[in-house]
């Protein structure tokens, strides 16, 4: 019997076999900063992409990029995107996708426009829009979840269907809401404070709240578990279908707020309202570092992704390139971000 007694390896495999039953837990990264970086690598990666991109633009045209107005103009509509990007991070984490939000934006803001046009207070309009968004989110979510359909295609279908409804009823007519500017609701949600568009404060509050919801609330915890391993979640007594429906409802609410904000910026509701957000919002989520396979994601990363995407067009044009370059740079940023996140993120699934 040949017994090979070679020296022990300098590696911590011992732990894998539970030898050290009496030893305490120990964080692999003892320094808090290292831990912070490890926990937020996706969001920090997105921030890196954004900083590099802005540095390039600034180098190309320093004057424009040191003008506050440029930023304030982006900050006016950025909130519209943020209110959908953030809930979409939840949806994607949950292992689903929602392509019906543009129609929901259009639908909910239509209700808002109808209420305001009928002479009611805009606050009532906002409430009505949010109720509409909630119901539509519930409808879409139920169809996907209880119908057991692929969310990619089913929500695409719902986007067509809802937009079709809007078109059939409105026959292309838009609604101008010129009186809106004098309302309290406008002052609170859409004016400026010291030159800063007030909607960005609301959007930041929303992002912070959602980030907490994602990382520090039962809802976020369940969304992640459901996206990671739905069978497991089900076995542990989580009502998987309900959690799934809830994320769609969350998108519905976000889309309703986004649509309303958009109408308040433009004083006009168009039957196409929301359509233009489909691709930039989707791109933001993934540029932000939430992967497609579900279970993990980053709300803050998604928000930074939205900022990045918002600045691409502005930056390309300000850097003196013709508008023909915008699509190219959109594609480039998406591909580079994906490559960056790929390299930055360990994958356990």
């Amino acid at each position: 019997m040949s017994k090979a007694m070679e020296p022990d390896l300098h590696n911590p495999l011992g732990g894998a076999r539970g030898q050290a039953a009496d030893k305490e837990w120990n964080h692999p990264s003892n320094h808090w900063l290292r831990g912070f970086v490890l926990d937020n690598r996706a969001a920090l990666g997105t921030l890196g992409v954004f900083i590099v991109m802005m540095a390039v633009f600034m180098f190309a045209n320093p004057t424009v990029f040191t003008t506050w107005y440029l930023y304030s103009s982006v900050l006016t509509t950025l909130p519209v995107a943020l209110f959908v990007v953030v809930p979409l991070v939840f949806v994607v984490t949950c292992g689903e996708i929602d392509l019906s939000f543009p129609a929901t934006m259009g639908f909910a803001s239509w209700v808002f426009a109808l209420v305001v046009q009928a002479g009611y207070d805009p606050f009532l309009g906002i409430a009505a829009a949010i109720v509409t968004g909630t119901l539509l989110g519930f409808l879409v979510g139920s169809l996907v979840v209880y119908g057991g359909l692929s969310s990619l295609i089913a929500t695409l279908g719902m986007n067509f269907l809802l937009r079709g409804l809007i078109q059939i009823i409105n026959e292309g007519k838009s609604t101008a809401l010129t009186g809106l500017a004098d309302s309290w609701a406008y002052k609170i949600f859409s004016s400026q404070i010291y030159g800063i568009p007030v909607q960005i404060f609301w959007a930041i509050a929303f992002v912070v709240f959602s980030a907490l919801l994602y990382n520090r609330h039962r809802f976020g915890a369940q969304v992640k578990v459901v996206g990671d391993n739905p069978d497991s979640a089900k076995q542990m007594g989580i009502d998987v279908k309900r959690v799934r429906v809830k994320v769609f409802v969350f998108v519905g609410i976000g889309a309703a707020i986004a649509g309303t904000f958009s109408v308040m910026i433009n004083f006009t509701w168009w039957p196409t309202a929301g359509d233009g957000y489909l691709l930039p919002v989707l791109a933001s989520v993934f540029v932000g570092g939430t992967p497609t396979w579900g279970g993990i994601g980053t709300v803050v990363g998604g928000a930074i992704g939205a900022v990045t995407v918002s600045f691409i067009q502005t930056g390309v044009v300000a850097a003196g390139l013709s508008g023909f370059y915008v699509q190219f740079f959109n594609g480039l940023i998406i591909i580079l971000s994906l490559l960056g996140h790929k390299w930055n993120q360990a994958r356990y699934r």
């Binding site: 424009v64 003008t67 107005y69 440029l70 304030s72 103009s73 982006v74 006016t76 509509t77 937009r163 078109q167 026959e171 292309g172 007519k173 838009s174 101008a176 809401l177 010129t178 500017a181 958009s262 910026i265 433009n266 004083f267 006009t268 168009w270 039957p271 196409t272 309202a273 929301g274 359509d275 233009g276 957000y277 067009q313 502005t314 044009v317 300000a318 003196g320 013709s322 508008g323 023909f324 915008v326 699509q327």
Partner: protein, 305 residues
């Protein structure tokens, strides 16, 4: 004046449509010609006709504080008003194209270059009624982006003019995602279906250059011969010229998109450098018919007209 007398002026120019759409390309070429002649630095902006996007692009344009902005009027008075006010405060000269925004112009100034959409559409309707020899009770098809109030104003005008003359008009909406503009072949079965559904249709109107250029294909697919149906529409292009040659197309209202590119830049230069008043030009000048199409043929090939 120097050849490049406008060279220190910075202008943002809204081309309007998507990159590569037939109408936008001619506008773009007009603007480029003006930039080459006069020397200003011009940023070109494409929006794919998405009105929400246009407003945001205008917001960013105002923020950059160029001397002049040539904006599309599509978002409408209400949406543009606040930004026009800001531009006015910052001393930015404004020009509007393609869709007029009378309230904004009344409040904060600015010029307009483009056909008076509704008017041009009506004129086309009247001209088609005349040239096609239509009578009250005849049937015609009108295709258009009716789902978009502003973009569809012109085609609505045509419909209105024909209806007022007693023609029964069947309206076909082109899909809002612009699929027919990016690939007019996709409309082949739909137009065939409409013609089959209304075999007694005498005339068909098309919303823009790409579709009007594809008339021979549509007619062949529906089993019609040149001259069976009076085909009319807007814009010119090499394909439309071919259509005239083959006898497929009978009438187009040339809204001279080249001028819609050239003139706003010229006017903004004049305002910025020479302090002239903004221009107001109706480019919806003429009709092209089988009798005069050869004049535009060469220009169309170069995407100048």
């Amino acid at each position: 004046l120097d050849a490049q007398w406008c060279k220190d002026v910075h202008i943002r120019f809204f081309v309007g449509g998507a990159e590569g759409d037939a109408f936008g390309t001619i506008v773009y070429n007009g603007a480029k010609q003006a930039a080459a002649d006069l020397g200003p630095k011009v940023d070109y902006i494409f929006s794919g006709w998405d009105v929400e996007k246009m407003v945001q692009q205008l917001r960013e344009a105002v923020a950059v504080k160029p001397q002049g902005i040539a904006m599309m009027g599509h978002p409408g008075d209400a949406a543009i008003m606040a930004l026009a006010e800001q531009a006015h405060k910052d001393g930015i000269k404004m020009m509007y194209q393609n869709v007029p925004v009378p309230k904004v112009v009344a409040a904060f100034g600015g010029g307009y270059v483009g056909a008076q959409q509704e008017q041009q559409g009506r004129a086309l309707g009247a001209e088609a009624f005349k040239l096609a020899g239509l009578k009250a009770g005849d049937k015609a098809i009108m295709i258009g982006p009716f789902e978009n109030e502003n973009r569809g104003a012109r085609e609505r005008g045509t419909v209105a003019a024909l209806k007022e003359a007693g023609v029964e008009v069947i309206q076909l909406s082109s899909p809002p995602s612009g699929e027919w503009a990016s690939d007019p072949n996709l409309a082949i079965p739909v137009i065939t279906a409409a013609l089959l559904n209304h075999p007694d249709v005498k005339a068909v109107g098309y919303p823009g250059g790409q579709m009007l250029g594809n008339v021979p294909t549509y007619m062949q697919a529906a089993g019609r011969k040149p001259g069976d149906i009076f085909n009319f529409g807007f814009d010119t292009s090499p394909q439309i010229v071919e259509g005239f040659k083959g006898g497929w197309v009978q009438l187009t209202a040339d809204q001279q998109p080249f001028l819609q590119g050239y003139l706003p830049i010229l006017s903004l230069c004049q305002q910025a450098v020479l302090g002239l008043a903004p221009m107001n030009v109706d480019t919806g000048a003429g009709f092209v018919t089988p009798q005069n199409y050869e004049i535009v043929a060469e220009l169309a090939k170069q995407a100048l007209r």
